[in-house]
Symmetry: C2
Subunit: 348 residues, 2 copies
């Protein structure tokens, strides 16, 4: 059980050792000590080893703050997501964290809870900390503009506010949505509702567009009253879904635009004793773990949040390397995980 932690010999010092103390103890100048520790510039091998040994024995850890101030370049990135309690954002953060670690970067994480004000605060904190770059699931157009003006590289993930102004990484929302909707149409459904949170961001807009495109391609007339805005949290959405499913002429299938909405629809269906898939078919965007736990499993568009996070961070590092390269939007494809939640519509 070897740990990489260098524990200083003896009792802890009252003050943390600085490079000056390392240098004095080793009998060299600060410059030489710095060269010995960073490995940049000439140092006699014997001196290098002696300095490193002294540093180890003192438990010296260089002050990243001071280093960054001098070098005008930090080794941390800022990450801003909307809700860590949502497995999608948590997975995103997990993927980013993994890759950042591999590149010896640390991650500042903030959760804006969907609020533009909090997002703005976090952005300013990132600027103050002079992070090397920021990855954000934006809730306003301002943030990317602001960070860009501060000359901080930004990558928008999951949704895109600054089209063409900064890099972005997303899944192909439109074609994935079209694909699952087509499956429902092929099964014979005609009254397919879409439960959605918002329609102005790229996520909502494109998923809605894909859904409509499927209707158009199938030559099926489209009923606007079946597109339901259901808000942000599970409870509010559950109530909306409940209303939807209790209509005199209810939908025979529901496409939920994300995992929170899918949960809401699922709960509403349970409340109403609707059996899935016999009385109601359900498909969802976002494949999260409960969808394969329930009976029947929920057919879902599986976008891999970890992969999305990884793609975002590699895009960010490319941007840091070449700030002037043309702006890029990366579209990952999403697969459909087919499970048991769909069936032909009930005969009337």
């Amino acid at each position: 059980m070897k740990s990489g932690l260098t524990v200083p010999d003896g009792f802890p010092p009252a003050r943390r050792p600085t490079i000056r103390e390392v240098a004095e103890t080793a009998g060299v100048s600060r410059s030489t000590a710095s060269r010995a520790l960073t490995g940049r510039g000439y140092v006699a091998p014997a001196v290098r080893d002696r300095v490193r040994e002294v540093a180890r024995s003192l438990g010296y850890v260089p002050d990243a703050t001071a280093r960054h101030l001098r070098q005008q370049a930090s080794q941390s990135i800022g990450v801003l997501v909307s809700d860590l309690n949502n497995p999608f954002y948590a997975g995103l953060a997990a993927g980013i964290s993994q890759q950042a670690r591999k590149r010896q970067y640390t991650m500042m994480l903030a959760d804006d809870g969907g609020s533009p004000e909090v997002e703005a605060e976090a952005a300013e904190a990132f600027v103050a900390l002079r992070v090397a770059g920021v990855i954000v699931t934006p809730v306003s157009a301002q943030i990317s503009t602001y960070l860009a003006r501060q000359r901080i590289p930004v990558v928008e993930v999951d949704r895109q506010f600054s089209l063409g102004a900064c890099d972005a990484v997303m899944v192909d929302n439109s074609s994935a949505a079209r694909q699952v909707t087509s499956q429902l149409l092929d099964l014979g459904h005609r009254r397919i509702a879409m439960v959605i949170d918002e329609m102005h961001w790229t996520t909502g807009r494109d998923r809605l567009a894909g859904y409509r495109a499927a209707f158009a391609a199938a030559g099926v007339p489209f009923d606007d009253s079946l597109v339901v805005s259901a808000g942000w949290d599970v409870d509010a959405a559950r109530i909306e879904a409940h209303k939807l499913l209790s209509r005199p002429e209810p939908p025979t299938a529901v496409f939920a635009a994300n995992n929170v909405l899918a949960e809401a629809v699922w709960r509403a269906a349970t409340e109403l004793n609707l059996t899935i898939p016999d009385q109601l078919s359900l498909v969802s965007f976002d494949d999260v773990s409960w969808m394969s736990l329930v009976q029947p499993g929920v057919t879902a568009v599986a976008q891999d949040p970890v992969a999305l996070g990884e793609a975002a961070i590699s895009q960010l590092f490319e941007r840091i390397q070449s700030p002037l390269a043309p702006v890029r939007t990366v579209l990952l494809s999403a697969t459909v995980a087919s499970r048991g939640s769909t069936a032909p519509p009930p005969a009337r």
Copy 2:
């Protein structure tokens, strides 16, 4: 739609403005500019307003790096969890993030994936960044010792490695485990298995102890072969659970020591077509959202990870304020969310 982001007038400057530029533009010295912006020390009101206006118009954001170097105190805390993809840890991070934001602190987040080596790396990064304090779900005893020796306040959450050496915040694992186990015993179960990941950390040890205590209190003999070590990931655990449930004399109830293991048991039961609760009763530690989505819902010990995170951070700030106060272990109580996954054992 007002955003708090101060966007500099005109085109972005080639270099980020410093306090020196703010001072020169406002026609004052750096000292005065600093006083005007921080609000510490004498400044004529007219001057203060002029300086602030100039700072705003230049889009000046003070360099936290430089400030912290000078003040020898940072406004960030380090948070180290085991797996962001696990809703428990994600919730913990969410709670901490919320509270940190309220106190104007930023959060450095790292995910060690359960590895002591990665944990050690992250600890060193936190020291290098001179964070004000660290909250950790530890995977080794070294980390708290190391950070303490570096004079960085630490709070251990969820489990405790450095008993009495540093603050800790946990739920009362033992009595919660005892409580759910007693419920199963009261229903008439005798062959109650416990599926667990490890038994050396406080979490595993105490939950196991609670389980045993319930047997002792009920005067029911205890069968060691029903305590199953099932490893860390869902798949490995599912296989172990499958074996357990396929034994010639299978348990009539299972107590899963955490949400991952509960998921594994649930999946194994599904594979074996065991109906819950008629053929098998299931209870779990950790109440995560899928447990109320499946049919029947899973009875679970509900520890609120967000509350746990909040308690940890307030403990951390108290520690930062009074470094010499006696070490404290905070025990939060956990409630049992009773759902439909338990019933009397099947008649033989």
